[in-house]
């Protein structure tokens, strides 16, 4: 009997919310239009691949050896030669004006030293403003020099009648994503960012709006319990967000050839749990914010930036300081991204990500509980 009444009241709230959503067609269009727009734009735009590194060469030693080195760099496909520098004074100009990302200085005695079996130095001046790109460039340059050294060593030793071979021949293999495409890696992050934003904005603004317009008072004096109110508010937005999720997922699969390697059922369940935890965050924000403007700021603060910075979307969590690593647990996107990557890129099963699912459930439980308590208190006042 009691439960029956409770379900009735929840049903009434759900009906009211759906009616409100239906009436506001414009918002509904926005909800579906923007994710697609962003996905299309960013899916193509985002990648962290470092290709076509702009290099300029200051060759002070016009020898066959130095030209061979330059030739080797060019044929690797990673570099684009933007020009030769003949005047030393121009070196800083090339870097200052961003004409080149790396200037390579080959010293005068390069060939001579190599000929006499000494160590010849090549200077690489790298623009370090973007630390990541610079690291990759350094990595390439080190490899190029090593590679060239190895070649020289073989040539010299074979010339002197010494039988030559490669002692350890490395054969790197890349699993799951052999062409090392970073877009594939970034799409799960993008998806979860779009979903968390949609879910949080939808719930928290719709609740705060009732506060702002004064209709919250009416809900307060109704026989509706705080748990009923929260459940009733959550369900409609879960449904809407699920549709958004299915829609964006379908598009990313169609356009970016991202395939779901794992199980669709797991994908559905984990998306549902993620959405519920995002909605619970939205509800929590709505219990703090009194105006939609504050809700806007809090939503930005708690979803957009953490998802961007702390979720492992772009920056690897293992490279962060331990204190920050612990902090990354505040964003549900972190867990969902891991699940998505496991399902979409690796195609592995539940045993690889069950901990993440549990974390999402804990997250949702904590925020829903706090929100219920806070709403009850607000009702009592």
């Amino acid at each position: 009997m009691v439960i029956n009444q409770m379900l009735n009241r929840i049903y009434a709230i759900i009906k009211k919310e759906f009616r409100q959503i239906k009436r506001d067609i414009r918002t509904l269009i926005l909800i579906f239009f923007f994710p697609v727009f962003l996905l299309m734009l960013f899916g193509f735009a985002l990648n962290l691949d470092v290709k076509n590194i702009k290099i300029a060469i200051n060759n002070r030693d016009s020898s066959p050896e130095s030209r061979e080195f330059v030739q080797m760099l060019q044929s690797s496909g990673y570099f684009r030669l933007v020009g030769y520098i003949y005047d030393e004074k121009d070196i800083s100009r090339f870097l200052d004006e961003k004409l080149a990302q790396c200037v390579i200085v080959i010293p005068k005695d390069f060939a001579k030293k190599l000929g006499s079996g000494e160590t010849a130095k090549i200077q690489f001046l790298v623009d370090g403003v973007d630390g990541n790109t610079a690291t990759v460039i350094m990595n390439y340059m080190n490899l190029a020099s090593r590679f060239y050294s190895g070649k020289m060593a073989q040539e010299v030793s074979s010339r002197s009648g010494f039988k030559t071979y490669i002692p350890v021949n490395p054969e790197p293999v890349f699993w799951y994503n052999p062409d090392l495409n970073t877009t594939k890696f970034l799409i799960p992050g993008l998806l979860s960012m779009i979903l968390i934003l949609t879910a949080v904005i939808l719930t928290c603004l719709s609740i705060v709006r009732e506060k702002e317009l004064g209709s919250m008072e009416q809900l307060k004096v109704s026989p509706l319990g705080s748990l009923e109110l929260i459940v009733g508010k959550t369900i409609p937005y879960t449904v809407v967000s699920l549709f958004v999720a299915a829609f964006t997922l379908a598009i990313s699969m169609a356009v970016f050839k991202v395939e779901v390697e794992g199980s669709y059922i797991m994908l559905f369940i984990s998306t549902l749990i993620f959405l519920i935890s995002a909605l619970s965050l939205g509800i929590f924000i709505s219990t703090i914010a009194d105006s939609q403007q504050v809700a806007f700021q809090l939503a930005a603060l708690s979803t957009m930036l953490p998802t961007f910075i702390l979720s492992g979307f772009i920056f690897p969590i293992e490279s962060m300081p331990v204190a920050i690593q612990i902090l990354t647990n505040v964003t549900p996107a972190k867990f969902y991204i891991r699940v998505l990557r496991a399902i979409m890129i690796k195609g592995v099963g539940l045993e690889a990500f069950y901990m993440d699912i549990i974390s999402l459930v804990i997250f949702a439980t904590i925020f829903l509980t706090i929100s219920t308590i806070r709403t009850r208190k607000a009702k009592a006042v």
Binding site: F124, M141, M152, F174, L213
Partner: protein
């Protein structure tokens, strides 16, 4: 003039009343800056590795210790079959596996040479590539060393063979310690200004309409331009305040000093704010509810600005047609200016193009949104 001042006073009064808003605007930037400062690194320095050593010889142990000593790898697991490797990589426990073949030592010493299999979890292409680079470097070094000792040992005494080598001498300019932080943090100045100003303006007018105070605004003797100025001035002051906070924290917490002229930096910020405030106003005039305004400014304005401005994703890596789109992103120019002034210490002369672009955007956006706003009022 008096009218405007009174209007500005009203806006400030509203802020003062909404203490939470104030807290959010003042504290949020600091928190974000600190998080970003510590979290934003794409460096890969702790590559979790599993080793399957089938040789168990002196040479194989020596080889593995080279990886450990490099400081980039941590040998987390030692396994004895392929399934265990698959399991560890599948579950994300390790990023890399080294498989040392059975006759590793023998094949090296006999002059046959050996193949070394290294397996990487390629899901994160960037990370995998960096790890592969490190491991390739270590392996090549190891090989060259072996050749060197062999030649030394076997070389005839009267004709000592010297193996020549090329040593790379890498010098990093502008940011020698290669902290990503230095690159990222100045960018966040632009991000925060955008967040604060767009939030404030995009909701400003819809809010008055939703609550019903918009009618009161219409009947006041204020002209549309006066309303706009009255709304913009307090918001830009708040934007500048949060910028100052960010710069202060950057200076004293992260020791990143503004190397160029601070005045030029603030001038650029004001120019940039004209664009963001106008964009916010525009969103406000096309939205019916605050929810719509929020969606539009999050998804339609802020996300494109963050992603396409070169803040984290290098513009040079984008496809050409997207690169053209980035030219209409005002944040792109502002971030170039901030990075130039803060990191390189370059002045106005080198940034003329960016300043001009911001100015043009400001004028165009302000005109368009004021026109729309005036129409809304009538």
């Amino acid at each position: 003039m008096n009218l405007i001042i009174n209007f500005i006073k009203k806006e400030f009064l509203q802020f003062k009343r909404d203490k939470r808003m104030f807290g959010v605007i003042l504290i949020a930037p600091v928190l974000q800056l600190i998080f970003l400062g510590y979290a934003a690194t794409l460096d890969v320095n702790n590559i979790r590795t599993v080793v399957w050593d089938q040789d168990r010889s002196y040479a194989s142990r020596d080889f593995i210790s080279k990886f450990e000593k490099s400081g980039y790898f941590s040998m987390e697991y030692h396994v004895s079959n392929y399934d265990e490797i698959k399991n560890l990589i599948d579950n994300g426990k390790v990023l890399m596996a080294i498989v040392i073949p059975r006759n590793f030592e023998k094949d090296i010493n006999s002059g046959k040479g050996t193949d070394l299999q290294t397996i990487f979890d390629g899901s994160d292409g960037n990370k995998a590539l960096i790890a592969a680079g490190y491991s390739l470097g270590i392996t090549t070094n190891y090989s060259v060393n072996i050749l060197n000792t062999m030649v030394e040992r076997k070389g005839l005494k009267d004709a000592v063979i010297e193996i020549p080598q090329v040593e790379p001498e890498v010098r990093v300019w502008y940011n020698p310690s290669l902290v990503t932080r230095k690159y990222m943090l100045p960018g966040i100045v632009g991000l925060l200004i955008m967040l604060v100003t767009i939030n404030l303006t995009s909701l400003a007018i819809v809010k008055e309409r939703e609550i019903g105070t918009f009618e009161q605004l219409i009947v006041t003797p204020l002209k549309p331009s006066q309303i706009i100025i009255g709304k913009f001035i307090p918001f830009s002051i708040l934007g500048l305040v949060s910028m100052t906070i960010v710069l202060t924290v950057m200076r004293f917490w992260f020791q990143i000093e503004v190397r160029g002229s601070v005045i030029t930096l603030y001038a650029a910020a004001i120019l940039f704010m004209i664009s963001t405030l106008s964009l916010g106003l525009f969103v406000s005039t096309i939205s019916k509810t605050q929810q719509q305004a929020t969606m539009t400014s999050f998804f339609g304005v802020m996300m494109p600005m963050i992603y396409l401005s070169g803040f984290t994703f290098p513009i040079e890596n984008m496809p050409t047609w997207v690169q053209y789109i980035t030219y209409i992103i005002p944040l792109r120019y502002f971030i170039t200016i901030v990075r130039g002034i803060v990191l390189k210490g370059i002045g106005f002369e080198d940034l003329k193009f960016e300043f001009a672009a911001l100015l043009i955007f400001g004028i165009v956006l302000l005109t368009v949104s004021s026109l729309r706003f005036r129409k809304k009022l009538e």
